[in-house]
Symmetry: D2
Subunit: 133 residues, 4 copies
Amino acid sequence: MSVAQEMLRTTPSQPGYPAADLAACIEACLACAHACTACADACLGEEMVADLRRCITLDLGCADLCEATGRVLSRQTAYDSGLTRAALQACREACARCAEECEGHASMHEHCAMCAEACRRCQAACDRLLGDA
Amino acid sequence: MSVAQEMLRTTPSQPGYPAADLAACIEACLACAHACTACADACLGEEMVADLRRCITLDLGCADLCEATGRVLSRQTAYDSGLTRAALQACREACARCAEECEGHASMHEHCAMCAEACRRCQAACDRLLGDA
Amino acid sequence: MSVAQEMLRTTPSQPGYPAADLAACIEACLACAHACTACADACLGEEMVADLRRCITLDLGCADLCEATGRVLSRQTAYDSGLTRAALQACREACARCAEECEGHASMHEHCAMCAEACRRCQAACDRLLGDA
Amino acid sequence: MSVAQEMLRTTPSQPGYPAADLAACIEACLACAHACTACADACLGEEMVADLRRCITLDLGCADLCEATGRVLSRQTAYDSGLTRAALQACREACARCAEECEGHASMHEHCAMCAEACRRCQAACDRLLGDA
């Protein structure tokens, strides 16, 4: 059982989503935030960094929104469904935009290929909680 | 001139919004993130903390989304309008929900009154960038 | 292979620490940040929330420092060892303080027991990178 | 009166530092976090971005630590002096390293000059709370 699942199992509050889906989305957000932070750094280290500006900016923004969403989803006590949905929608959009950019040069940079995968997994996990998957 | 305005004046990139509106929104996001963090802490210190759970959770989530949005807006190099709009929409919604909650007990807790004001200012600044004000 | 390991494998930059130790510390930081965020939320949901104020405040602060440290460690391009060590030292101290608090009521709250474990793992991972383990 | 001062005035908790110094440090942390985020973005937009890698990485790390420290300082309920001091020490070190780097090319890039100033102000504010100023 993952840490996210264990924490949901032991909270006294009633989660607003099925625990397995919720834990999967929290983990996908955290993994994507990390992949985006690391991809931005790897892009910065590439010789052709000047051609990767858009990728770096999208990575950094996606990391911020995934991290914020992972935190919001980790709070189930007296939680507000409106705020949670707003975070999920922003996170999903950020992941979609960042994935599209990274996929465009995935063949040249393996870190972009891996970041794109993390973004698509997070996008799908948000879709599921939003009821669109 | 504020730090946000000075930074926009000296960046080599072309901001995606009028600089004055953009600087105002960045500052409103940062001020709201801080007010929400401090309000959550003040609520935690109140004798009636058990009645303020919803306020604390909304404060913490609003702080996270305002902070992420403030960061996203601070990046103007090769920025992506889709990601930026998604952040602004989430931030605006979080501010509206948190303001409504804080306004509900503003007469009892001055920190909630102040937090609600910061949320409403941030909501309005997001509205302006989104073209809805 | 974990996402953190894969990202280190594919970056063009030379990491400042052995990759296995570095990846383990990044993952420990992210897991601890999440456990602390979730533990603060679970404490807020407990009937005896008024007795858990110190735990909540330590959880929130530890989450912030672990998250910042996880991000700092994820950047290996032209990285600065002084800044990295400063982050690791703060993270280690935060984890030690939070673990001690959570251990004090681990028998009563399982989420505190799990959070304490995540803190001790992160503390040990920081120790290793700092050369004190 | 600033938002940080107002929030300290209205919290039911007893702050662990003189309110004026504490509010000044919170504001310096938030201003520095923003300046660093914006400076990293401006550096990314410069033609000579490949020569600014070290500045970008220091900016991003300093932003993360300043933001985390600003949050830690904003919590005064049942706060832990050990965790707070650890955050202040990390923040001070990050600001010193980032300022030194930015000062090195302040004559060429005005955003670096401004970022260095924000770092030095934050470093001094941390010094004061740590009792070293």
